[in-house]
Symmetry: C2
Subunit: 377 residues, 2 copies
């Protein structure tokens, strides 16, 4: 059997103990929206936490009763008989703190002011997310995850779990990720942020009160993002130099199919995503750098880690290239940790981690089946 988890529903957890961020900012109270799939076993040893990337959220698998078309973003990976088998695992997906899908974030109402947080919402780091997620684990009575997994920014959170709470995670599945962003990665993020920050409708982050949304900036940010998610080859295969109208128009409207695709993706995204959340997510990416506190030594940063690791990369991912995954693998080996590594041949660039791909899914399945034996044996 290999099916979807079917109908799911979102839950809400409320945390009344103040959370102190890396920046020093304090949030007196916050809420996290989450979903769970499968059943937590008696000794609560079969839980997997799925961490999301830049534009992700808690709706990871299945669909809602009243919206069958709204399928979770990693549905192909999670379900009965799927690589993350919900007949064996209890899977948790959440919307990160600072998000815009129900968890407390910049667009939430600040109870102290009665207005959206906006610019006053703290800049969140990967470490802060792990702390907020640890409290959710506490609430669910999970002292140790069978695995924490994620792709891209989600993979950074999974790795951070093994650094912040080494005793609370048995396996880390770090997919299409990196030990830190390169200057080029930061540069792309900075252009995206500047598109938003300089949009006159941004109003310094407090656009909510002005009844406007910095659509132009968000749209540009997403268009640019999409270029970095795809591979040059994938774009060439999918769009090439095809002209939408079959001939050149000699104007600045949409001419090439790739332009049509990008603008469509940009418009779609700008219609629902929060601009402040976008800024915050890109900053969390830029900041992630476990080696920083160890004078640049990633080996020393991972010395505390006790988890086993599965590290996966994709050949055409130029955003977080296989070289970056190999850096992680090297560090884990230097620390005598158990690590499995696979470099998956895929044409889909960074986006590959979201795709249904036989070799990729088989590697995930085999690794997770092995984990399942640890608690079912």
């Amino acid at each position: 059997m290999n099916t979807s988890v079917g109908i799911v529903y979102a839950q809400r957890a409320i945390f009344d103990t103040p959370l102190t961020f890396r920046s020093g900012a304090v949030l007196p109270r916050y809420e996290l929206v989450y979903e769970t799939y499968g059943t937590l076993n008696a000794d609560k040893s079969n839980a997997i936490l799925v961490c999301h990337a830049l534009s992700g959220h808690h709706h990871v698998a299945g669909h809602y009763a009243d919206a069958p078309e709204n399928v979770g973003w990693w549905d192909n990976m999670i379900g009965p008989g799927r690589p993350v088998d919900t007949d064996k695992f209890f899977v948790i997906g959440l919307n990160n703190l600072g998000g815009c899908h129900g968890s407390t974030g910049p667009s939430s109402i600040n109870p102290e002011t009665g207005k959206p947080y906006g610019a006053s919402f703290p800049v969140v780091t990967v470490e802060d997310w792990v702390e907020s997620q640890a409290r959710l684990a506490d609430l669910l009575g999970i002292t140790q995850f069978a695995a924490v997994m994620g792709g891209s920014l989600g993979g950074m959170q999974a790795m951070q779990w093994s650094l912040s709470h080494p005793e609370r995670v048995r396996h880390v599945l770090a997919i299409a990720t990196a030990p830190h962003l390169t200057a080029e990665n930061i540069a792309f993020n900075d252009v995206a942020r500047n598109a938003i920050l300089t949009d006159p409708d941004f109003h310094g982050g407090d656009f909510y009160q002005h009844g406007v949304v910095p659509t132009r900036g968000l749209r540009l940010a997403r268009m640019l993002g999409h270029i970095t998610y795809l591979s040059d080859d994938a774009m060439a295969d999918k769009f090439g130099r095809s002209l939408r109208a079959g001939k050149l128009g000699y104007n600045y409207g949409i001419e090439f199919e790739i332009e049509s695709y990008l603008r469509y993706q940009g418009d779609k995204f700008a219609a629902y995503f929060d601009a402040n959340t976008y800024l915050l997510m890109t900053k969390a990416l830029d900041y992630f750098d476990p080696a920083r506190e160890f004078k640049g030594s990633l080996d020393k940063a991972f010395a505390v880690s006790r988890a086993d690791f599965l590290v996966l990369s994709f050949t055409t991912d130029w955003r977080f290239s296989p070289d970056r995954s190999r850096e992680i693998v090297q560090t884990l080996l230097h620390n005598h940790l158990n690590v499995s590594y696979a470099e998956i041949a895929s044409t889909h660039g960074h986006d590959s981690f979201l795709m249904e791909h036989e070799h990729y899914h088989e590697v995930m399945r085999v690794y997770l089946d092995r984990i399942a034996k640890e608690f079912s044996a």
Copy 2:
């Protein structure tokens, strides 16, 4: 001796015969600003035309008497004893039609209306530029160039010369260029264009009358452009993850050195470059595709060419990668044309073509010395 050409001055050519563009648009009259270095020989056989790329202009070498700091953009390449030796060659640089450095362009006053052309300025193609340049050659009495050369978009013009006027160019020097843009290249251009087009200060291209400039859009376009001009490695070497203030600020100001660099480049560019010219230049890049009229056959497109070619690429150029240059070389070989090809090992990405690099300059020097022998013998 290897020196600069020294003091130079710009000249202006006026063309009163209407020019019909590929788009069908007609410009009744236009002006081109140009500079020349060296001396045209008696039979006018030693002329080299230098075509510029996106943000280039006619000031290619030397400096102005009243502005010694304003050195031409390819000064390291051109001068007495330099690879393009002005003791042997008569070198011409011009500002392309549609530019913003003195030649007729969107910011010029349309004599018919007394206002800047703005949105009414025609979209210009590489073929149109070659026609406008051919008229300049006519004016200077040059029936055949010893060489037409350029990097990037300039290389496209050099190649187009051999297609539009095969009998008028003996050598084509096509550097860091491509037979057409990929979908990814177009995608980057489209994001840059959208940044400008959606800037509220753009006013549909007629911002001149509103006394404003779409600075935000131009700035974003240039920031993005810079990422594609540099290599990942060059950025890592130059900026890495260095923090400007030495520590994280947890805000959306400049934190990493790469952000400081990009914003500085963006601001500098937005202060002088014309937004409509930027749009027009990126469109010319997108449109260039000699194979299009030959059902995708680049070989057939180059069947008319009679020139000898020097094709150069740079190992870390991911904008116009060596693979793209090899496509050009293959096509030239299929057409039994003389072609020399060198792939230069450089860490500087696409920008390499503007840099002083020993191997690169030596290849240029040797090739051009050979050309010089053709007319001095």
